[in-house]
């Protein structure tokens, strides 16, 4: 096929620009690897999961490098938040789509969009000023896994709600008409027809929200207490992998710094798994 030279030039330029996105991903991985290499080499990958504790300041010899409590903290906080946010977010989506009178539904949706736009540092600030003291009155010290879960729930709820709603919105009208013509109640229609039809989109929403919960830093850093431990109850403080990096990177040197990049690598792996899962579920669609 004939192609004018200006087209070839344009295509070449666009390809280069598009490769930047690929290059950034590669660079992220490469830099995480390069920076974590010293620790992996002299500490060994096993010690990141088998050491007695996390006290990395002592260097490769005296230091301890166990990331497991923070991994558990991350998973516990994210899982708790997802468990709470999914029913709430779906409820919110159902409200918008099926229950709210039209005008209220529109206003409500705008409100959820605003919630989605509030920065995490503001949520964290609110959690620090309001939520943690509330929990402290009940179960000290207040800054705890529970506070982290609640703040994360509020943060990922709009994601679940908005994505589920757009998924419900794409359920063909004919299914809903068919269900009402059969005399099915609103709830039966939702449970039996709308939710099964929207399942793929909702599941993707949940995965993306999980990714967000795992990756969230500031809000958790501000309310979760940041003690490196495997929490025995939700009232105990925890530190997540992300909070660990934010808390210690500025002060970290050599192996300590390197160990933080290892935790970054662990985070990255978790996210890639989730993103792949999401795009695998969505392989029919263009975008996740």
């Amino acid at each position: 096929m004939y192609r004018p030279s200006s087209d070839m030039l344009l295509l070449a330029i666009l390809r280069c620009l598009a490769l930047i996105a690929v290059a950034i991903v590669l660079l992220i991985v490469v830099f995480l690897l390069i920076e974590s290499l010293p620790a992996v080499r002299s500490v060994g990958m096993l010690r990141f999961f088998g050491d007695a504790s996390w006290h990395p300041a002592g260097g490769a010899e005296a230091g301890r490098f166990n990331l497991t409590p923070m991994l558990i903290g991350t998973v516990a906080a994210a899982a708790g938040a997802v468990l709470l946010a999914v029913p709430l977010g779906m409820g919110s989506a159902l409200f918008c789509r099926f229950y709210a009178p039209r005008r209220i539904g529109g206003v409500y949706r705008r409100l959820v969009e605003l919630l989605a736009g509030i920065p995490s540092v503001v949520y964290g600030f609110w959690g620090l000023m309001v939520l943690a003291p509330l929990i402290r009155q009940w179960q000290p010290p207040g800054q705890s896994l529970l506070a982290g879960i609640l703040i994360l729930t509020i943060m990922i709820l709009p994601t679940v709600a908005l994505l589920s709603e757009s998924s419900l919105r794409s359920v063909p009208r004919s299914y809903l008409d068919g269900a009402s013509a059969l005399g099915l109640s609103r709830w039966s229609t939702i449970r039996g027809v709308a939710l099964p039809a929207a399942w793929g989109g909702i599941f993707t929403a949940v995965l993306l929200a999980t990714g967000r919960a795992i990756g969230e830093t500031m809000a958790v850093l501000m309310v979760a207490g940041n003690v490196v431990q495997t929490p025995a109850s939700i009232f105990e403080p925890v530190r997540t992998l992300t909070a660990n990096i934010a808390l210690e990177l500025g002060y970290a040197m050599e192996h300590h710094r390197s160990a933080l990049f290892v935790s970054g690598l662990v985070l990255m792996v978790m996210i890639v798994v989730i993103v792949s899962l999401a795009s695998w579920i969505n392989r029919g669609r263009v975008h996740v």
């Binding site: 008409d177 059969l182 005399g183």
Partner: protein, 305 residues
């Protein structure tokens, strides 16, 4: 078919006097016609001969956001008969159908005035259990719309929601319904396959089975064959024909040949002053062979519409 019979089944004299008159008037007229056409009609469906109105509309008017779409339709529909609703597109045929099971509720800004009486009860009355009403009045849409579930679940799920607790009972009802629409042999080995994998004609028959499994009295069909190829369309048509007598069938179609083959009664909708209304109704033979309204005559002869 007697007058006293009618007296019992029509609603209270107080509120539905006019309907009673309309019904009586129509039925007297129809009775004459029925006698006139006697043999043919009774061959097709003896049940239809009772001329007992099940559904009556009374000055039914529908507005969408202030725009009148259908005006002043007063019409009885008889038990066990197949009533064809014909007319050019956009003259309120589907709107009329949607009034009969209150699907109009689903449309934003839709206002219905006048009354729809089914078995003498006003379906727009405040205490109506809408779900029970819609179970009683089944509906089939223009485009087949099976749920994105398995074939089995498409039938058992509505049953379950309507309180059929026993699984085995649901299974047997499902089997019967599928046999009734002639789908059983085709799908019995893949009941758990997705319903959306069926062909268009099969999907439409599944939808019919889904409606019939709830044992409705009235079945509303909104151009059920228009989205199907001729062969599938023929199968569905035969199926509808077989419903005569057992169900009261109201079918919207713009296919006149179709209406002529199927319907016992026909109502012709026409656009008058920007809104659809009934310009002629009566036994199919009469409407098609001896139309009284000039527009009907032009329409059935294919000159207009």
């Amino acid at each position: 078919m007697t007058r006293s019979n009618l007296q019992i089944t029509t609603p209270s004299d107080v509120s539905a006097g006019e309907v009673a008159r309309a019904v009586t008037g129509a039925s007297a007229e129809d009775a004459a016609k029925a006698e006139h056409l006697g043999v043919a009609a009774s061959d097709r469906a003896p049940c239809c001969m009772d001329r007992e109105p099940v559904v009556c509309t009374e000055h039914l008017t529908v507005q969408y956001g202030g725009q009148t779409a259908m005006r002043d339709v007063t019409m009885p529909i008889y038990r066990g008969c197949i009533t064809g609703i014909v007319g050019p597109s956009g003259c309120g045929k589907s709107t009329f159908l949607n009034c009969l099971n209150r699907m109009t509720d689903m449309t934003e800004g839709c206002r219905v005035s006048g009354r729809v009486l089914i078995d003498g009860g006003d379906i727009n009355h405040g205490t109506v259990n809408l779900l029970a009403l819609r179970r009683r009045v089944g509906m089939i849409f223009q485009k087949p719309n099976p749920f994105p579930l398995s074939i089995r679940k498409n039938l058992t799920f509505p049953l379950k929601e309507h309180g059929v607790r026993s699984g085995s009972q649901r299974e047997s009802l499902m089997t019967t319904a599928l046999q009734q629409v002639g789908l059983w042999e085709e799908v019995k080995d893949r009941l758990d396959a997705p319903a959306l994998g069926l062909s268009g004609g099969q999907q439409q028959r599944l939808c019919l089975a889904r409606a019939l499994v709830l044992e409705p009295d009235v079945v509303l069909l909104d151009e059920p064959c228009s989205a199907l190829d001729p062969i599938a369309s023929g199968v569905v048509e035969d199926l509808i024909d077989s419903l005569r007598g057992r169900y009261t069938v109201i079918i919207v179609t713009h296919n006149l040949a179709h209406a002529r083959r199927l319907a016992d009664d026909v109502a012709v909708f026409w656009l008058e002053e920007g809104a659809g209304t009934v310009i002629e109704r009566g036994p199919a033979e009469q409407v098609f062979t001896a139309p009284r309204h000039p527009a009907t005559a032009a329409y059935v002869e294919g000159r207009r519409g």
